[in-house]
């Protein structure tokens, strides 16, 4: 069961999401197995691409000289990015499990973890845009991948958790609410850290 579950999660979810969710709805994967044999591969992609892009090409603003950060701070930033993604994945899965009761779902934590990882997969792949260090290009690439991820969320929740589509829609919307808050918190937290000196040089 184990190896079978993960390989299809990695690839089949991209071109046959409905079938993947169906299979997942009957599975009871161990959270550790999901995290260390599946999620981890996706979690390292964004920080890796970010590191490669920023250290080789620098960040560009308009036609100006590219901004290149020192290697040590780049490593720190990439590591920080990685841990933020890990925490984000785990907390979202935990919150999904916490919310599940309200919507009549009863699934083990491992299934929630697998589901959220599948939802995040398009974003992980799209993070290849970090290789081209332009904020705008990254936003441009994030948009279709976000649409795809949200599609997987709305489609996946009712199927994988085996609840009626309307309850699934409500639960997915509540998760969207959480994700919006998480995203803006990340923004705010980053700003707080940077303006307090932990980060790029700011003249505050």
């Amino acid at each position: 069961m184990s190896t079978q579950v993960y390989s299809f999660l990695l690839f089949k979810s991209l071109y046959q999401p409905a079938a993947t969710f169906e299979t997942l709805s009957k599975a009871n994967p161990s959270p550790f197995a999901i995290l260390f044999r599946y999620s981890i591969w996706l979690l390292v992609l964004p920080p890796l691409f970010a590191f490669i892009g920023a250290s080789n090409f620098g960040w560009r603003l308009g036609a100006d000289e590219p901004l290149v950060l020192a290697r040590e701070s780049l490593i720190l930033v990439s590591l920080g990015y990685f841990w933020v993604l890990v925490v984000g994945l785990l907390t979202t899965a935990i919150i999904s499990e916490w919310m599940a009761d309200t919507y009549g779902a009863d699934a083990p934590f491992g299934r929630h973890l697998a589901l959220i990882t599948i939802v995040g997969e398009p974003l992980a792949i799209a993070s290849a845009a970090h290789l081209y260090p332009s904020v705008f290009v990254n936003i441009l690439v994030i948009i279709p991948s976000l649409i795809w991820a949200m599609y997987l969320l709305y489609k996946g929740i009712p199927i994988a958790l085996d609840i009626p589509p309307e309850r699934g829609m409500l639960m997915a919307s509540s998760l969207v609410g959480w994700l919006l808050v998480a995203a803006v918190s990340l923004l705010g937290l980053s700003m707080m850290l940077w303006t307090l000196g932990v980060g790029p040089l700011l003249g505050v």
Binding site: L61, T102, P164, M169, S173, L180, V184
Partner: protein
């Protein structure tokens, strides 16, 4: 124009206000789309003063807040206060005056802005003759609303009415105090307050216009229409009581977070920040109340497109009321102030919360008012996805633009010199502005779909005469 029998709810004025609200939504959003295009192609104003960004911007904000927003609030207040009181509107002729006079104020006010009559105080740009007119009509609104409550047949005043009541009372207080000015001509006045003192008064007003009009009033809408649509009571009455008073108390203090690092006393800034964070609690308590209420009514989603709007509006309400306190921290504000991040925050609230909950309410209310089914559920669903897409695209574009601007403005090199020139930073915003323009077009398109859908729903129909039901003696007043 007036219902003969004393046993029928006055609903014609409700539908008229909804119609005006939608017209303003379309006009003001179109103005918004035009303005966002101007930021990319500044010469599309063809050198004409009446197409100029500076004069049109308050047209957009006033059109949305006072045209779209207040009309929707008046409509839903009039509808719900009657039904929660089991009486007709008090002074129905006054209600009609509110309806039409208000539209006249917004229309002529908009024209006055184009003509350059502008106090420059945000959301209070209209000059003193309009301020007086607004005060008069607002008093009429208060008389109709509180009069209906005072003559009610149900003993308890339902919670939605507390919020609408707070809207009316607090906006009156804010409007009068902030607009105090000495007229020097029919079209020009000078503020009673100057400089730093004016700043504190203005943002006490400005923030609470958002707080009690855009938040409080629409919470009133939510507290009535959500349980109605879900056909469930509010999840927690006790929570709503605590949340209401905490909300009414704390929101007022948050104004100074618009003035961090500005030339006002630091203690005022700190107070503003602390209370902004405290405000998170009652805001989220209300959101949770709404979400838990609707989560028990999920089967309705099968047939009711309106409920989808309300559900997502609550998610965006959660976002906006979380982002606000976060931006009130000086260490975040240092980056966000003066940037497009603020604009993004405004619109996550305006599009995600205000517009969406209003749309959900209109889709529910309008068919009911004329006793018909919604013309097209398919179009309503299409509208929903367009509204969601438009809102999220807008937010992302402005987060990208705003955070870039804020950080790049502050960016210095190792010897402390500025890393980037203002012009270069500004020029690099164009792609984000392009994304925002597309977002606005999508959102406007969805709104147009709704206008068409609701127009077809009411076409050829009359407002249904609804008999006021008998009052269960357990809930009635002794009269």
């Amino acid at each position: 124009m007036s219902e003969e029998s004393t046993n029928i709810y006055h609903d014609k004025v409700v539908i008229r206000l909804i119609q005006f609200s939608i017209i303003w939504a379309l006009a003001a959003m179109a103005a918004g789309v035009y303005l966002s295009a101007e930021l990319i192609w500044p010469t599309i104003d063809l050198g004409q003063f009446w197409l100029s960004f500076g004069r049109l911007r308050p047209l957009h904000t006033n059109g949305i807040v006072f045209g779209f927003g207040v009309s929707a609030l008046m409509a839903t207040a009039f509808y719900s206060v009657q039904r929660t009181s089991h009486v007709q509107l008090f002074a129905p002729k006054l209600a009609w005056i509110c309806c039409y006079a208000w539209q006249l104020i917004v229309l002529t006010g908009g024209l006055s802005l184009l003509a350059g009559l502008n106090t420059s105080k945000e959301y209070a740009e209209l000059e003193w003759p309009w301020d007086i007119a607004i005060t008069i009509i607002w008093v009429c609104f208060a008389i109709v609303f509180f009069g209906t409550i005072a003559t009610r047949k149900i003993k308890q005043i339902y919670i939605s009415n507390w919020f609408y009541g707070a809207l009316i009372i607090v906006i009156a207080m804010l409007h009068i105090v902030n607009n105090l000015a000495l007229p020097v001509s029919m079209t020009k006045s000078y503020s009673l307050y100057a400089g730093a003192q004016d700043a504190v008064v203005q943002w006490w007003y400005g923030h609470n216009a958002v707080g009690f009009l855009l938040t409080g009033g629409f919470l009133g809408m939510m507290y009535y229409f959500l349980p109605k649509q879900a056909e469930r009571p509010i999840w927690s009455y006790r929570l709503s009581v605590v949340a209401f008073w905490a909300f009414t108390y704390s929101y007022i203090w948050a104004g100074p977070h618009h003035l961090h690092y500005n030339a006002i006393p630091e203690w005022v800034q700190s107070l503003g920040m602390v209370m902004s964070v405290i405000l998170l609690a009652p805001s989220w308590a209300t959101m949770i109340n709404g979400i838990m209420t609707v989560s028990t009514a999920w089967e309705k989603l099968k047939t009711d497109p309106a409920l989808k709007f309300i559900v997502l509006s609550l998610a965006f309400y959660g976002l906006a009321t979380f982002e606000g306190p976060m931006m009130a921290f000086p260490s975040v504000n240092v980056v966000s102030h003066f940037t497009d991040w603020t604009i993004g925050h405004v619109h996550s609230g305006a599009l995600g919360w205000n517009a969406m909950i209003t749309y959900g309410t209109f889709y529910f209310l309008v068919p009911r008012l004329v006793g018909a089914d919604l013309y097209s559920v398919r179009l309503a669903n299409m509208h929903f996805w367009m509204a969601l897409a438009g809102t999220m695209l807008y937010i992302m574009a402005m987060w990208g633009a705003g955070v870039s601007q804020g950080l790049l403005w502050l960016s210095v090199d190792e010897i402390g010199e500025l890393s980037f020139g203002f012009r270069d930073i500004m020029a690099s915003m164009a792609p984000f502005y392009g994304l925002r323009l597309i977002a606005g077009l999508i959102f406007l398109g969805g709104t147009a779909l709704m206008a068409f859908n609701l127009f077809m729903t009411v076409r050829g129909r009359e407002v249904v005469k609804v008999k006021i039901p008998a009052v269960d003696p357990a809930y009635g007043v002794a009269s």
